[in-house]
């Protein structure tokens, strides 16, 4: 039998631990988030308001770095190249991914194997993908040149021509990331209710009508999420360009990530590069919010 004092002690210990436990459990995770996310973000914002020389901060310049960006021809060019790259790649990936998802929705012999094969590109390391495409595109010993010469043609110029290099980069991205779009959209298609489709079939609706009036409208939210995710991801494309073209020829494939990397690490303009990345972060954030708002408006209507 417990005395009154002992019972009160145990009760207090239990209640105190109960109250503190959730915070104790959260503490390690919170520390990690503060250390690797919040502090670097704060430090990056602080760096973006400073001028650096030889890798060290020398003065506070307020928003001058941000202002300077908009008169920097190289920044504006790389931003434009990035926007073109993202728009083209993500559009093609969305269309192809949707088509593949619709095709793979059908059950037939070998469909499981086909679905597996289709997602292989996205699980390959981006650097490896870039090296593979370099072996395909290289004008001196690339596979395309070998094929062309075997058929009596000449060397194929991909990486040495601005337009071809840009298209080559888009092809690489589409090859690698269409599977992600396909996977998200296939999951979306498989989760759609069957009843409306059965009803439409009973009413004699054709495939196109079913797609236009049912599948596409019902898939719009999933499609929007997939596009937003890929857009954010595509804005950060780095590895493939770094290995394949390093931004060349000229500045034809110089994405903002490459320009920012060079500015920060090669040219030691840390503050300016920080301002650049903060600006891009805000642009991507604005795009994501716009897409989500658009999605809500579509849903509401």
């Amino acid at each position: 039998m417990q005395t009154g004092t002992q019972a009160r002690k145990y009760r207090l210990q239990g209640a105190g631990l109960d109250l503190a436990l959730p915070y104790l459990m959260l503490a390690p995770g919170l520390m990690v988030v503060l250390g690797v996310l919040v502090y670097p973000l704060w430090d990056g914002l602080r760096a973006s308001t400073r001028a650096y020389r030889y890798g060290s901060p020398i003065s506070n310049v307020g928003f001058q770095n941000y202002v300077q960006l908009w008169s920097d021809a190289q920044f504006l060019n790389s931003l434009w190249v990035t926007v073109k790259f993202v728009a083209l790649s993500v559009s093609i990936e969305a269309v192809l991914g949707f088509a593949l998802a619709l095709f793979c929705l059908h059950e037939f012999r070998g469909i499981r194997l086909l679905r597996t094969v289709l997602i292989i590109p996205m699980v390959i390391t981006p650097v490896v993908v870039a090296i593979l495409f370099r072996l395909i595109y290289a004008s001196d010993a690339g596979m395309l040149t070998a094929l062309s010469e075997a058929m009596g043609g000449g060397g194929v110029q991909i990486l040495g021509n601005p337009l071809n290099a840009f298209i080559g980069l888009v092809v690489l991205d589409v090859w690698e990331w269409t599977p992600l779009m396909f996977l998200i959209l296939l999951a979306g298609l498989q989760s759609l209710p069957h009843e409306p489709f059965e009803a439409a079939r009973v009413d004699g609706a054709g495939s196109w009508r079913v797609f236009a009036d049912l599948t596409f409208p019902m898939m719009r939210p999933v499609l929007a999420v997939a596009i937003v995710l890929r857009t954010i991801d595509a804005f950060g494309t780095f590895d493939q360009v770094f290995v394949l073209t390093r931004g060349g020829p000229g500045e034809a494939t110089r994405l903002i990530s490459i320009y920012g990397y060079d500015t920060a690490f090669k040219f030691q303009q840390t503050g300016y590069a920080a301002a650049l990345f903060v600006t891009i972060g805000l642009v991507v954030l604005a795009l994501a919010f716009s897409a989500i708002r658009l999605l809500r408006r579509v849903d509401a209507s």
Partner: protein
């Protein structure tokens, strides 16, 4: 009695502790056991380059005999500058010695992240050094213009030459039968004859990728036409009449006599072209030249010879040496300096020369059996003329701006002079922004 599967506080804490212990145990077991030190440890960082092969194969074993435990860490050229600069500046202490490309010395010097090797006992005034090479180890430079903030600073020896690389001409002796072509016109004219005779596919091959590669290929042409890069006040003057003529020749005549894909060529493709028997001549550093007599690495062993770079006005090559610096954050600083003292001694340099690398001490050029036919030619080139790139901490940016414009002109096959005008304006604007004037 029923067992409850309810999640309790006790079970969560027990599970968490168990998981933490298991993770720690697995991590500990998975980590390699630190090897017992085999001597005085020196961690060397280098970029991958054939020019270091003799050092790796012949000198590192000698260093081990001297009691040094060398760890040689290689990376791609394109990432080493930023990686090492970050290491030095953050004080991470991942390396004891960097084998830098010489244009990087000013950037490290201006940031004050390298040890004073003179204070460490390395004699920069030793007359046996190749003068222009040891000069590159000082910051601020002993001669020539200095950037703002360093006008009155005392030059300090922060790096020492490691491998004395410089550009020379590699040519096919069955195409240029009268010896090394003396002028660029001869390179093209005789090269065309070689193409017509079916001996080669292209008179000349070079690097066309924007940035460092294209500037490296254009630079000896520019120097041979008599161009100068900056004036004494850091104003770009590379777009002079001589500079423009060199750029027009480079993107016009040289491109017409090179593979159509030369715009995307880097040192790998350039090397493959000469070693594979397709090119008549290339200007290059020693990396590929060291493979010229090895039938396992070239299809034209015995047909490759070396000479001084061709001239238009002069025959001046670009000097691009490997140069060693010890970061202030080096964990084995004393070992590194001791290693460097041993490495740059006349005896070790003679061994380096015998191993096939271009030494950094003049006496080592005179060894009885240099390990490569290139070594005496390198000395001829040094005597004919070899210049380093301008000693500015902002060279990486300057090279990038110029390289992009030259690459655009190369794609077009014309407009080299106009490209230099554009680049000169961009360089001037950039240097103005960072306070040069």
């Amino acid at each position: 009695m029923m067992h409850s599967s309810r999640l309790t506080r006790r079970s969560v804490i027990k599970g968490g502790l168990g998981l933490a212990l298991a993770t720690t145990a697995l991590t500990t077991l998975g980590l390699p056991m630190p090897a017992k030190a085999a001597g005085k440890k020196v961690i060397i960082g280098a970029f991958a380059d054939g020019g270091l092969t003799p050092f790796k194969e012949k000198i590192i074993p000698l260093a081990k005999e001297q009691g040094f435990d060398i760890q040689f860490l290689e990376d791609e050229y394109g990432v080493t500058l930023e990686k090492w600069f970050a290491d030095a500046q953050s004080g991470a202490g991942q390396y004891d010695l960097y084998l830098l490309d010489d244009p990087w010395v000013p950037q490290f010097g201006a940031a004050n992240v390298l040890e004073d090797l003179g204070a460490g006992g390395i004699d920069g005034s030793d007359k046996d050094w190749i003068g222009p090479m040891i000069d590159m180890g000082y910051w601020p430079p002993q001669q020539g213009p200095r950037v703002k903030g360093f006008e009155n600073a005392k030059p300090t020896l922060i790096c020492v030459p490691f491998v004395g690389d410089l550009q020379t001409l590699t040519y096919r002796n069955d195409v240029f039968t009268g010896g090394a072509p003396k002028t660029w016109d001869e390179v093209i004219a005789k090269g065309k004859e070689g193409v017509a005779a079916g001996k080669i596919k292209y008179p000349v091959v070079f690097r066309g990728v924007s940035g460092n590669p294209i500037v490296t290929s254009w630079y000896p042409v520019f120097l041979s036409f008599g161009g100068s890069f900056f004036d004494d006040k850091w104003n770009p003057i590379f777009n002079s009449a001589e500079g423009k003529a060199s750029a027009d020749f480079f993107v016009g005549t040289m491109k017409q006599n090179a593979p159509s894909g030369v715009v995307e060529f880097d040192s790998d493709q350039e090397g493959a072209a000469i070693l594979g028997g397709e090119a008549g001549a290339i200007i290059q550093y020693s990396g590929n030249a060291l493979k010229a007599d090895d039938p396992a690495q070239t299809k034209v062993a015995g047909k490759l010879d070396f000479g001084v770079v061709p001239k238009q006005e002069k025959a001046i090559a670009q000097m691009g040496i490997f140069i060693a610096g010890v970061p202030k954050s080096a964990p084995n600083k004393a070992n590194s300096i001791e290693f460097l003292k041993w490495y740059v001694s006349a005896e070790t340099q003679a061994k380096l020369s015998e191993a096939g690398s271009i030494p950094v001490k003049r006496s080592a050029f005179g060894v009885a059996k240099p390990g490569n036919r290139l070594i005496p030619v390198a000395l001829q080139q040094l005597d004919a003329g070899a210049l380093p790139r301008p000693r500015t901490p902002d060279w990486a940016k300057v090279e990038e701006l110029l390289g992009i414009e030259l690459n655009k002109a190369l794609q077009a096959g014309s407009g080299g002079g106009a490209a230099l005008d554009t680049a000169a304006k961009q360089v001037k604007d950039y240097l103005t922004t960072v306070g040069y004037y």
